[in-house]
Symmetry: C2
Subunit: 142 residues, 2 copies
């Protein structure tokens, strides 16, 4: 199936609660997850809540990784949305499962930007619908 992106929604249960409340570690692990998956980080934004919990996003050339943690329940909601064939979101999943020390996970993989639908719903003709390779995506910070 032709598609622009793949998106894994992850529920991480029974994580290490101290890690889930550590802003620095969560940011480090999320960025490392992107790197492990061979993604290229272009921006990130993380926020520590008072009294607990961390939220953050890593924008990658190939889409994004996000996290929201509830240390009080040992739970984290993670999204791993990647485009193209060079990045594997499941590598990021494995890395985060290990580093957050989650002993129970649930995942759903969703197709994003399915080429057939983009063609069907558009009045224009698109021959090729594909994610632009990384080399065409030189970043231009604005």
């Amino acid at each position: 199936m032709e598609q622009l992106g793949r998106h894994i929604l992850v529920e991480f249960y029974n994580c290490d609660k101290e890690i889930l409340n550590d802003h620095g570690l969560i940011e480090e692990y999320m960025k490392n997850a992107a790197i492990e998956a061979k993604a290229t980080i272009v921006q990130s934004a993380f926020h520590m809540f008072n009294p607990w919990g961390v939220s953050g996003a890593v924008i990658i050339q190939e889409s994004h990784l996000t996290i929201h943690t509830w240390p009080e329940y040992g739970y984290a909601a993670v999204d791993l949305f990647t485009c193209g064939d060079t990045v594997d979101p499941w590598v990021a999943f494995d890395y985060l499962k290990k580093t957050l020390k989650s002993d129970k996970t649930e995942t759903t993989e969703v197709v994003r930007g399915e080429a057939g639908r983009i063609r069907h719903f558009s009045p224009e003709k698109y021959d090729q619908i594909h994610f632009k390779p990384v080399e065409e995506q030189e970043k231009k910070c604005v």
Copy 2:
């Protein structure tokens, strides 16, 4: 059903291509979408790709909104993930549908952090599992 969050995955087809390639407008619309939905913005990160396309995330106290645009196909992948009862992600959806000028949308709403599962998979006892109200979530920027 008790749940920490609700997450709407949106496929916006046939949007205005010029808007989808306008970094400033996309960032403005995404932030406005959060505000319209009565969310509180705590951080954001947006990136313009060369030659085209914008990616970005708005971290809100109540989770996040993200967008990735493909101006060349008139397509945008948007995620609207909110927690608590005070924020309505569908308001953000309506606002973005209008401002991106999308004439065809597809949506999937996903439960995140379902309380029954958090209880079931944890060795600990949790009586109440709920999203912390905004007033308990004073931000501490780090």
